[in-house]
Amino acid sequence: MAERSAQVTWQGDLMSGNGEVHEAPSGAFGPLQITWASRSEDEHGGKTSPEELIAAAHASCFSMALSLGLAKAGNPPERLETSATVTFVPGTGITRSALAVVGHVPGIDEDSFKAAADAAKDGCPVSGALKGNVELTLDARLAAE
């Protein structure tokens, strides 16, 4: 079992208040500032948001699952470049996480790579938590050599 935690301090009302994600217990990031304006408008002013943190969690989880699947099938990756884009509609909620991956994987064909990526999209623990509640999409390609 693995447990990870994070702490946020929020001050004031929603529209004019602001929050701080404390330095991560691991020490890996933070403190990070958050506000409603930077979360709910296109202009983010360099500030993170829950949606960006979910994107980071999803892209990192998916990459691990894909590296495992590829290695199990005998084609460990040299390099995977993954992005996740999370869509937030204020008033409605989080509607989509779109994964895109470019793989540098010796000795694999495009179809096998796409199948492995599809399995990772369905099987990684973060996808497992989100599944059914949000649209999950995937664009998987091999890098042009």
Binding site: V8, T9, G93
Partner: protein, 149 residues
């Protein structure tokens, strides 16, 4: 209604057991965070983050804005909210690793709200927090909330 998009990038090199990855935020708020499987499922963190730590930060941040919004709407905007999220990933037989729970701890300094109203607002904020809704496919959300001072 506007659609807001936020993205993050990951570069992963190598197999799962020995490989490592780096995580960067589209906004630039964080960059090149190292992670690996040993740290993700191990006890020690060695200064490295993990998907679950990022989820914990997302949940605490999302719940904080949701609770601030609900309190404001109820006519009692918060002075200060302290929110901690603890995300638990467990190995479930037949399913592998599963994110099973996010435990929220809430300590709130709010003028003009009584204990009963506060309890109701805490539950509304969970319903209104888009992240709480999102992870309920595999995880339960528990909330330990206290009104201070």
């Amino acid at each position: 209604m506007p659609r807001i998009e936020r993205h993050a990038n990951v570069v992963w090199e190598g197999n799962l057991a020995r490989g490592t990855g780096r995580i960067s935020a589209g906004t630039g708020a964080f960059e090149d965070l190292d992670y690996s499987i040993a740290v993700r499922v191990g006890k020690g963190t060695e200064g490295k983050t993990s998907p679950e730590e990022l989820l914990a930060a997302a949940h605490a941040g999302c719940y904080a804005t949701s609770l601030a919004g609900e309190l404001t709407q109820a006519g009692s905007p918060p002075g200060q909210l302290e929110i901690t999220s603890n995300v638990v990933m467990d190995e479930v037989e037949g399913q592998g690793h599963v994110i099973v729970e996010s435990q929220l701890r809430v300590r709130a300094r709010v003028a003009g709200v009584d204990a009963e109203a506060f309890r109701r607002i805490v539950a509304q904020a969970d319903e209104g927090c888009s992240f709480s809704k999102l992870i309920k496919a595999s995880a339960k959300v528990s909330i330990d909330a206290e009104l201070e001072g």
